[in-house]
């Protein structure tokens, strides 16, 4: 286990996990002295019947619970201020966020406004603007992927001014994250597949990127172990409660790992393909993950090789000759994508070329690749990637990922 010359690690979130973990919420709120929480969620979560489960748990003990379900798929500063007003007007004293990444971001934004009594959220953007604990925030993720229930970041968009604001502070970490398999059981297989691959990409990138440290490593390895084992199980059988719980725990471990170790080229190109072509984040992660490992292999083969045992288990580890172990990691991820492709009747794409939108048009036309490669130069994830990336490097990786061919590693520029 490597000890870097210097590192920092922090995850203050209390994790409460298990079947019936939701039932702990009344006690958790009481611990924080809360009598009237505001539940922040979105229509999709309500439509899937998940809020019914949460409110049933809360109803007995907390009569005053308020539900706001108008979080849009993309966080919006207007909604943040609107919900903050609702929180104040109703005399709420805690926030319970139920949903995916956008709900978590919105809840964190609302928490800044109500805790700092801010009239303008903008004043708190960037790093280090928050200096004291905020109001109690309980996060209940409904996907097993983003890890935002354990990250110290919130991204809020101002759609009128075309601005994307990032907020970074340990005080944005939720007080508690509740992982209950009932919250992810209704996810259809293709969403399960891509959110699961998002989580796996968090764990793996966290393990090879520059900010890695012993604690992020330990979380990452454990996450890889759980996600690789249980993702095919729940994609195949969505109602497997133990599999669902394991995936939630795995995604949470991966979230802790990457929020302390950051991510690299996979996320860098993934963000860019999302902003240029609207590729769903998890789908981009699934496609790009093997390429991230290949691109960085010459710099971190000794690191990547250690992913094999937690992934594939002892038999495969033992039966693979030492020299081939790093490559085995890559090929197992390609195989996993292949399996998920089959389980989702082809909806889970293996390469950019076969990705289609709702009208069956290609999501990523080949001629868009140069634009994605350029957009990636504007994204911060490149900082933490072990090898340098420029426009040509990005394009080379994107072209291979579009075709679905392994990366020709002899063409990767080395310093």
């Amino acid at each position: 286990m490597d000890l870097p010359d210097y590192y920092e690690f922090c995850c203050r979130v209390k994790i409460v996990a298990g079947h019936n973990a939701l039932e702990k919420i009344p006690v958790l709120l009481a611990d924080k002295g809360s009598k009237k929480p505001l539940i922040i969620t979105d229509k999709g979560v309500v439509g899937a019947g998940l809020i019914d489960i949460v409110s049933r748990v809360l109803q007995d003990r907390l009569a005053g619970t308020l539900i706001a379900d108008n979080v849009p798929p993309d966080s919006d500063i207007r909604i943040v201020h609107q919900l903050a007003q609702l929180y104040r007007d109703s005399g709420c004293d805690a926030i319970v966020a139920v949903g995916g990444g956008s709900v978590m971001d919105t809840a964190k934004g609302v928490n800044i406004v109500v805790s700092e009594n801010a009239s303008d959220l903008m004043a708190f953007s960037g790093a280090g603007a928050l200096k004291r604990p905020l109001k109690p925030l309980i996060a209940i993720p409904t996907t097993a992927g983003t890890g935002s229930e354990v990250t110290q970041v919130a991204v809020i968009k101002d759609h009128e001014k075309h601005l994307k604001m990032a907020f970074l502070s340990y005080f944005l970490l939720p007080d508690v994250s509740v992982l209950d398999p009932r919250m992810t059981m209704t996810m259809p297989p293709f969403v399960t597949a891509m959110t699961g691959m998002d989580a796996l990409s968090h764990a793996m990138e966290a393990y090879y990127c520059l900010q890695k440290n012993p604690l992020s490593d330990a979380h990452a390895l454990s996450a890889v172990n759980m996600i690789y084992r249980y993702l095919p199980i729940v994609a195949d059988n969505p109602l497997d409660p133990n599999g669902r719980l394991a995936m939630s725990v795995g995604a949470c471990l991966a979230g802790i790992a990457f929020s302390n170790s950051m991510t690299g080229i996979v996320h860098n190109l993934g963000h860019a393909s999302g902003s240029v072509c609207g590729v769903p984040h998890g789908q981009a992660m699934a496609i790009l993950l093997p390429y991230g490992l290949e691109y960085n292999m010459h710099k971190c083969e000794d690191t990547i090789v250690r992913l094999l045992l937690p992934m594939a288990g002892e038999a495969v580890y033992h039966d693979t000759v030492k020299e081939q172990r790093p490559q085995k990691v890559v090929s197992l991820i390609r195989q996993l994508n292949e399996d998920l492709h089959k389980m989702t009747d082809g909806r889970h794409a293996r390469c950019f070329g076969e990705l289609k939108d709702r009208e069956q048009k290609p999501t990523v036309p080949r001629e868009a690749l140069p634009r994605i490669a350029r957009a990636a130069l504007l994204d911060g994830a490149s900082m933490y990637n072990p090898e340098d990336t420029d426009y040509d490097d990005n394009l080379m990786v994107l072209e291979a990922a579009w075709e679905g061919h392994p990366l020709d590693r002899s063409k990767v520029k080395k310093g």
């Binding site: 870097p4 010359d5 210097y6 590192y7 920092e8 960037g126 790093a127 280090g128 990032a166 990127c209 520059l210 900010q211 950051m262 130069l377 504007l378 994204d379 911060g380 490149s382 900082m383 933490y384 072990p386 090898e387 340098d388 520029k413 080395k414 310093g415």
Partner: protein, 175 residues
């Protein structure tokens, strides 16, 4: 209150002086590189017309500023003088600044070790980091520059040698 010794934090004048000199040097070198190197010029061209970048040490300096002025890239000393700062790269303390400016930790590693605080928009910050990487290749011998950046570029000998001479001359003359 005899129970407790009250200690006022000391000063580190030598390290401060070293850091100040290096910030001055880096500032003038960036100004020079923007004239000498095509890639650096292109990076600055893509930035806003009143773009200002500041690099320095928390909590109270020293700082250096680089800004665009009527299309030209200029070293602006240590005082913002009312200019809007687009990117502020702050090193957390004087020891950290010393580690980075004596090239014992690369910008990428220092970032990965949480030694820098970046304020401003990410694309601007990345552009400035690319500029500083290029400047380091010009200023430093290959052996040291290799540690300071992720991938040593394969430039033509002409670009490196003439660029290096051009930048050193301009830094010393301040042009």
């Amino acid at each position: 209150m005899g129970l407790v010794d009250v200690v006022r934090a000391g000063r580190k004048p030598f390290k401060r002086a070293y850091v100040a000199v290096f910030l001055w040097f880096t500032g003038r070198a960036i100004q020079a590189a923007a004239k000498v190197d095509e890639q650096v010029r292109r990076e600055f061209d893509s930035l806003p017309d009143d773009f200002t970048f500041s690099l320095g040490v928390l909590p109270d300096g020293p700082w250096m500023l680089i800004g665009k002025d009527k299309g030209r890239v200029k070293y602006l000393g240590g005082n913002p003088g009312g200019r809007r700062i687009y990117i502020r790269l702050a090193m957390k303390n004087i020891e950290t600044a010393f580690l980075i400016l004596s090239f014992r930790e690369s910008t990428a590693l220092a970032t990965a070790r949480n030694r820098l605080i970046t304020e401003g928009e990410v694309p601007h910050a990345l552009a400035m980091i690319r500029v500083m990487d290029i400047v380091e290749v010009y200023l430093l011998p290959k052996m040291i520059a290799r540690l300071a950046i992720k991938r040593y570029p394969s430039w033509t000998p002409g670009r490196k040698v003439f660029g290096r001479i051009g930048i050193y001359t301009r830094v010393l003359l301040g042009i």
